[in-house]
């Protein structure tokens, strides 16, 4: 494990006051291994050019690197075809792309989009917007008290008008791993499509978009140890083919006249303008990095850390951990302390070098459901260690001491 940690140069650098960094905010954004940083630098230093345009040496080289990255991403996802992988700026853009280029076209008045109470705003607000634009209706699968989708209610939420189920693979607050297979089966009974928000799930577990067969998958490079500003939309070819472009401009056209144009083939149709090409290439390197470690190994490391952290947090009196037990979630723990507001908790943990998030984590409806305004969130990644958890636990005791003056 120590060798994984040493792949990440930032984790070895003490903070400004000399305190070692304990980074527990990977759910927000993961740190980058040296190989990803090197891939960016190598691109800019040795062969940078715009993609899809140059016949000169770098133009050819950059296209090879870019398409190579796309191939490795497609392989990681189990996509049937490389062209089903579209580069976007991240999860948010991927979901907005599907909302505007697919849902807006297919939804009719009275049709239904099925979401749920645990979604990140990025998988909620785009649907609120598109139902307003089309006269469709947004429905919600309720949650159980322990933070699962209430599958007993699923049948009541589905109907002949359901056109889409949009669901997160893993909750960014509770860590809940959603039963995508069950949802895909249920969607099939009414002919609905399924979009999975993979922002949290893709970095933590192997996925195969063909089993269970999902229609759309969105994720961000920066949570997968890759660069910021780049992400992916996977879409089934037949769906991407029937969609009009989302953004229009260069690269996405086949032929442009003064009044009309025809669209380029996939995936270029959805990649208008200049891509963050170095970032896309380095995302390919990040994919190599995680697949070299292997998702099984990543799962083992993270699960051991999760069990240890959750067990030790549970030993702290009055601390409330929200969401499922460790057997039903990924490496995220959100908690509240009845006497220490999350904002104060994060402030005091910061003094011990612990970097984590306090707030609503872009999931206000979920916090309303939990009956709290904010939580403190620990999110673990493959580079965390037991020593990080030791510091966390000690720091929480310290925070409680300061605020309770005991």
């Amino acid at each position: 494990m120590e060798n994984i940690r040493s792949d990440f140069p930032i984790l070895g650098r003490p903070l400004a006051d000399g305190t070692p960094l304990v980074y527990l905010d990977s759910g927000s954004s993961a740190q980058k291994p040296q190989v990803v940083i090197d891939a960016l630098v190598e691109c800019y230093q040795t062969y940078y050019a715009n993609a899809h345009r140059g016949v000169y040496q770098f133009g050819v080289q950059i296209d090879e690197a870019l398409e190579g990255a796309r191939e490795r991403i497609a392989a990681m996802l189990g996509a049937a075809e490389v062209e089903e992988v579209v580069f976007t700026s991240g999860t948010t853009m991927s979901i907005n792309l599907v909302a505007q280029a697919w849902a807006r076209m297919v939804l009719e008045e009275g049709d239904e989009v099925l979401v749920n109470e645990m979604e990140h705003h990025a998988n909620l607000v785009p649907w609120q917007q598109v139902v307003r634009q089309t006269g469709a209706v947004l429905k919600h699968i309720p949650l159980t008290d322990d933070g699962h989708l209430d599958l007993d209610q699923l049948q009541n939420c589905l109907g002949p008008r359901t056109k889409l189920i949009a669901v997160t693979g893993m909750s960014n607050v509770l860590g809940t791993i959603n039963p995508i297979g069950r949802l895909v089966e249920a969607a099939a009974t009414v002919g609905a499509r399924v979009l999975v928000d993979g922002a949290q799930s893709v970095p933590h577990a192997a996925i195969n978009v063909q089993d269970p067969a999902i229609d759309f998958l969105a994720f961000s490079g920066h949570k997968l140890y890759g660069p910021s500003g780049i992400g992916v939309l996977y879409g089934r070819r037949e769906l991407l083919e029937m969609m009009d472009p989302f953004l229009c401009g260069g690269n996405m056209i086949s032929e442009v006249g003064l009044t009309e144009s025809t669209w380029a083939d996939l995936p270029a149709k959805f990649e208008a303008g200049t891509l963050p090409v170095a970032e896309a290439i380095a995302l390919g390197t990040a994919v190599d990095y995680v697949t070299d470690i292997g998702f099984e190994q990543i799962g083992r490391i993270e699960r051991a850390l999760l069990v240890e952290a959750q067990t030790r947090l549970q030993e702290i009196p009055d601390l409330v951990i929200h969401g499922p037990d460790v057997d039903h979630k990924g490496a995220i723990i959100s908690f509240t302390d009845p006497r220490v507001h999350p904002h104060d908790m994060a402030e005091l943990l910061k003094r011990k070098g612990v970097a984590l998030r306090a707030g609503h984590h872009c999931a206000m409806p979920l916090h309303a459901r939990l009956g709290v305004v904010a939580t403190t969130r620990v999110s673990l990644a493959v580079y965390n260690t037991s020593a990080d958890i030791d510091v966390l636990i000690e720091a929480i005791h310290y925070a409680r001491k300061v605020l309770r003056r005991d």
């Binding site: 904002h343 005091l348 707030g359 904010a374 605020l403």
Partner: protein, 131 residues
């Protein structure tokens, strides 16, 4: 032990706030949120004909800084006129707290102050002056 941020003044007000609750005879009330962290402060003021704040109460939820600051603010403004409140600036509010706040935490420390300013100006602009 005394903490540089969570000192006795802040924690005393956080644990035993001054005038936390409902003021039935309020002349006006207003709420603001800090959307970043979910802090919420509502102020309720009872203002007399001389435009003097007779009573100030607050309600809310949030971190120790935002809630203690609201409590300290209520204690400070009772007996003062709206004219005095209008002259009261953010620097003075932060000085009242007696601890140094980073830029992010200043938003917590100034949440109640923001509500007060909104109330004072709105009160002058409406029925307040003639009532």
């Amino acid at each position: 032990m005394s903490d540089e941020l969570y000192d006795d003044l802040i924690l005393d007000h956080y644990e035993s706030p001054y005038h936390r609750g409902r003021l039935e005879s309020a002349s006006c009330e207003h709420t603001e949120l800090n959307p970043l962290c979910g802090d919420r402060v509502q102020l309720q003021l009872q203002i007399d004909e001389e435009r003097r704040i007779q009573q100030a109460y607050f309600e809310g939820e949030g971190c120790a800084i935002s809630q203690a600051a609201a409590s300290i603010l209520c204690e400070h403004i009772e007996g003062r006129t709206l004219g005095e409140v209008e002259a009261f600036d953010a620097r003075q509010m932060l000085d009242l707290l007696q601890v140094r706040l980073t830029a992010t935490r200043q938003r917590c420390g100034l949440l109640g102050f923001k509500v007060l300013k909104t109330l004072a100006y709105a009160y002058d602009g409406t029925a307040g002056t003639s009532a």
